[in-house]
Assembly symmetry: C2
Homo-oligomer: 311 residues x 2
Amino acid sequence: MKVVAFAGGVGGAKLVDGLARCLSPQELTIVVNTGDDFFHFGLKICPDLDTVCYTLAGLANPETGWGRAGETWNTLRALEALGAPSWFRLGDQDLATHLERTRRLGEGETLSEVTSFFCARWGIAPRLLPMSDDAVQTIVETDIGDLSFQEYFVKHRFEPGVRGFRFEGAAQAAPAPGVLEAIFACDVVIFCPSNPWVSIDPILAVPGIRQALLRAKVVAISPIVGGKALKGPAAKMFAEIGIPPSAQAVALHYGSLLKGFVFDRLDAEEEVEIRSLGLQTLVTDTVMQTIPDRQRLAQEILTFVQREFLP
Amino acid sequence: MKVVAFAGGVGGAKLVDGLARCLSPQELTIVVNTGDDFFHFGLKICPDLDTVCYTLAGLANPETGWGRAGETWNTLRALEALGAPSWFRLGDQDLATHLERTRRLGEGETLSEVTSFFCARWGIAPRLLPMSDDAVQTIVETDIGDLSFQEYFVKHRFEPGVRGFRFEGAAQAAPAPGVLEAIFACDVVIFCPSNPWVSIDPILAVPGIRQALLRAKVVAISPIVGGKALKGPAAKMFAEIGIPPSAQAVALHYGSLLKGFVFDRLDAEEEVEIRSLGLQTLVTDTVMQTIPDRQRLAQEILTFVQREFLP
């Protein structure tokens, strides 16, 4: 089965890791949100690419889900001693990723090329693509003004009320090489349980991607469980936009793009309404606390796809 | 006594530290070579400024003379794991300096402003100025082609034969704010025992500085002792340029800029010839192995200046 997975941060990384444990490397292409990317201290930082890569490489911090296992913070402490901004937690090992990415981009490599190099170094076998090699910046429009995503998410701990979103540069961006081809060639596109507003929507905002999906079978996994996000501001964003957060709200958000929808047993009561949207559904345990959880959920999703969509 | 000290790397930093222990902060202005500055991984690195600052702040690694005491190398190890260039030894704490400098320059601060901020943070009381806020790049012309100073010095361990030097950008550079004023107002300018070719000459190449020195009393301390450099390629450079390295060769190199010259007892036999150049001389122990050595040498130089030049 040929699978394309769209992923953002921690939740997406976990499911992608599960998929990588169920599929051969040739069967899986991962498209990662780069709307969170930003420059900090002159370095290009790609939080979602890093989270997905560290997770797939087995380098991720199992406690936080982001950053690296066994990380040290000596540079950050020295930055704090200088009174430098320390809201973005730069670990010593993580810094090497930002430094080498910045150096390679400065030598003219594209983000795809750098990502491909890192994946080879880290022994990541599936194909992993940034959504675009062009700069797209997710702006969160809030009560205290426009904030870049990292400012909103990390610096302001997603406390400001959200009014809307925009993806600066998206209209001029092109999908990274291989993204559209992978979508056209795949059996299913899986929207990982990532934040619809700021992890999946930026990918959909890159011209050509949404249109390519019209010909694909798309299955989304709800990041909202029991009306709450497992992590991060997804539920809060729905509420502030004026939509009660629920699995159904996620399905409605993606609308006619979807053919299938996977959501948690905790929300089983929503199944009738979700099916009434014309969607095939899978109700299961979607919370991935352990690595076996990731593999089990991925396998269930693949079995569901096989049964419902692949003749 | 108002003193201006021109300094490069480790030797210069040691004498400047000695001077700072003998003079009140108001009496000492330090002008530091920035011809070694370069960009690495997108970060602005100023090796001589860092060495002088770390030394004055008591943060320097006492074994190496460069870098920071108690340094760790976690980022560098992660860079090596990525196959990234690791010839420039980036310590975890040292990295914070480069990161915050790069960030502040990116926000529009000048190198002088950043340096002044760092000095305040690190409790460095004397005035410390980069030679210029404009980019000047020391190029070492070698048998294997032109090399930036750090490439020559660190990457190639100063092995290639030297044919000449040039200071790119110097003609368009201006002295940093305060440099000329300090020279005009001082009683003596001290050329620290730094490399004449690549530590002091870049400072002299900044338009206006050499001319300002014509009105000043300049005393140089020889970095050549017993025909050898204590550290680094100064003696090798003299030899490759075709000049037998000696204290006298250093005095001749600076020529008519000098009024006084300080050199080691080991070279005492050169005194007659050096005095025949019209220079007042001080022959003493110039090798600074301990912190008391720095203070003792600095005090001897100041006493010599007082006796010979200040009526």
